[in-house]
Symmetry: C2
Amino acid sequence: MTTRPAETSRQTLDRLWARGCALLGTPTAIMGGAMSWVSERHLVAAISNAGGFGVLACGSMGPDLLAAEIDATQALTDKPFGVNLITLHPELDALMDVCKQARVGHVVLAGGLPSGPAIRRLKDGGARVLCFAPATALARKLIKSGVDGLIIEGTEAGGHIGPVSTSVLAQEILPEVAEQVPVFVAGGIGRGEAIVSYLEMGAAGVQLGTHFVCATESIAHANFKAAFIKANARDAMPTVQVDPRFPVIPVRALRNKGTELFMQTQRDVIARFQAGEMDQKTAQLEIEHFWAGALRRAVIDGDVENGSLMAGQSVGLVREEQPTRVIIDTLIAQAEAALTQRAGGAPHPVPIADPVP
Amino acid sequence: MTTRPAETSRQTLDRLWARGCALLGTPTAIMGGAMSWVSERHLVAAISNAGGFGVLACGSMGPDLLAAEIDATQALTDKPFGVNLITLHPELDALMDVCKQARVGHVVLAGGLPSGPAIRRLKDGGARVLCFAPATALARKLIKSGVDGLIIEGTEAGGHIGPVSTSVLAQEILPEVAEQVPVFVAGGIGRGEAIVSYLEMGAAGVQLGTHFVCATESIAHANFKAAFIKANARDAMPTVQVDPRFPVIPVRALRNKGTELFMQTQRDVIARFQAGEMDQKTAQLEIEHFWAGALRRAVIDGDVENGSLMAGQSVGLVREEQPTRVIIDTLIAQAEAALTQRAGGAPHPVPIADPVP
């Protein structure tokens, strides 16, 4: 067996995420997760300016709004950043055209398995395409469709989530496909040690969302940030579906009056359906309508009682508002310290001082 | 920075889990998770004989049954093994005395925060005591109470679960307490790479449950094993509570007719409560009673339709029945391969051949 060549921990880190950096065109392979309302021009530019890779959340924007947001972001940074498009968006084609015209280098397709033609269209337009792979079989399918990179996101992430944890997805998917395309791991990551672990398991990079919400540059309302700083991991829970006949898309958010009221609403609506007061479709729509506008109410208006406080479990590791650059530098320092300890053969890691008191 | 001394991957692994091995008295720091009905004499002895650390699940046993089971296990192995006791068991004191009389070396206290006196009583009796720490503050409290080791178990585990994922718990708790006592990480572990990751983050060892259910030596019914081999990670889901007034203890199990019927039962009971047909306590008891005997029906009788198929998300990595020794040797081979790749400076891990076709 060969021994590791004498390289600094930063060199080791750079070697571990070299493929991710090459794909993104960045000095670190830390992507910002696209969060509606939060991942707009200011945070995205700040992440990219700090050496990460910001991703604009297109969310419910139409083509004109997206074009303006890309333009504004380009005015704030000359570094690479990406755009997250929802494959189910009714104007997907027009949104893809906007990205092409604005010479967006990377498009992240989310929200359902994207079609081969959509991926080809983006690639033909000059963009690199990343997609979410919730299982090994779908990862293989996406690779065949020509994606440039994959993101595997575990259930501990914030917002819309799948059922399987990050570490289980990493064990299942990385050994199967990490050789073929760069894979970014997301969900629950809040310290550099975890970044190193996933890189050493074969990931090319990571994606963090929750950890950037309280960045100084984030426009999230002060109430929203305060809720994040106060919360523990166990406060970030998925929405609960009370009846298999009425599907609820699982969303992880901080528990508040809104999440309680949502369960009550489901029970009330289902009771009215069972009493024959409304048909199934109307009942389903009323349940789905409950959260309409709730994320904006929380992020922008600061209504942390009734709004949707979408957050991942790493929220417990968010302890203060910090400049984006400090957040990224701290993650890198933790990663380097972890690599130094491993290389030095210490029996077990020394606790790393938190960046916050 | 110093470079890693030239040691074999097995030497590195042995260094990484040395504290765990020393605490358990075993050549590997792989603990078997205590699973009611499954973790009985045969599987526990097989794990210990293969170099791991089997743990008897006392579950609902009384003192006499436990004494007989310990005796039978000692007849099958001369290696160290432990006993898992539920702190809420009405005969806890008598059960602890049984462990003392049988000279059980290690007791794992589960199911609620154990009292300082209970921990002292076990230690005074000569046993080493391990406890589950669901959060950093509780880990610190347990260390003050004198525990010899901690287990942090993420929500992707099988059976009774907490809300926070393994990787998030590891990031939160390991940097704070791993210096003070050996910490074992549990939940969703099914490959050697994950073992290495947690060890390098500061863990002293790991605990796996689900991964041993399909061991040749496991007495679980053939139907139960077949369900595990067929299942994907996303099939192992927590029980759903439909009403905040009627608490349901979260249990992760494979979805089947029983889990569907459980939601229906909750809705029916709650409707009867709301109609004034039963009081809240009766309703709560009826909900709690639903799963009585369900685990035994699944594990022993093989009723995989109506029984409780408690399983962690690593069930997706279980693909065939194998001797316990092969399971442990495969995990170690994967861990060694991961360490070899890291030391060799390969740009990213080569997929490791699965132990199964």
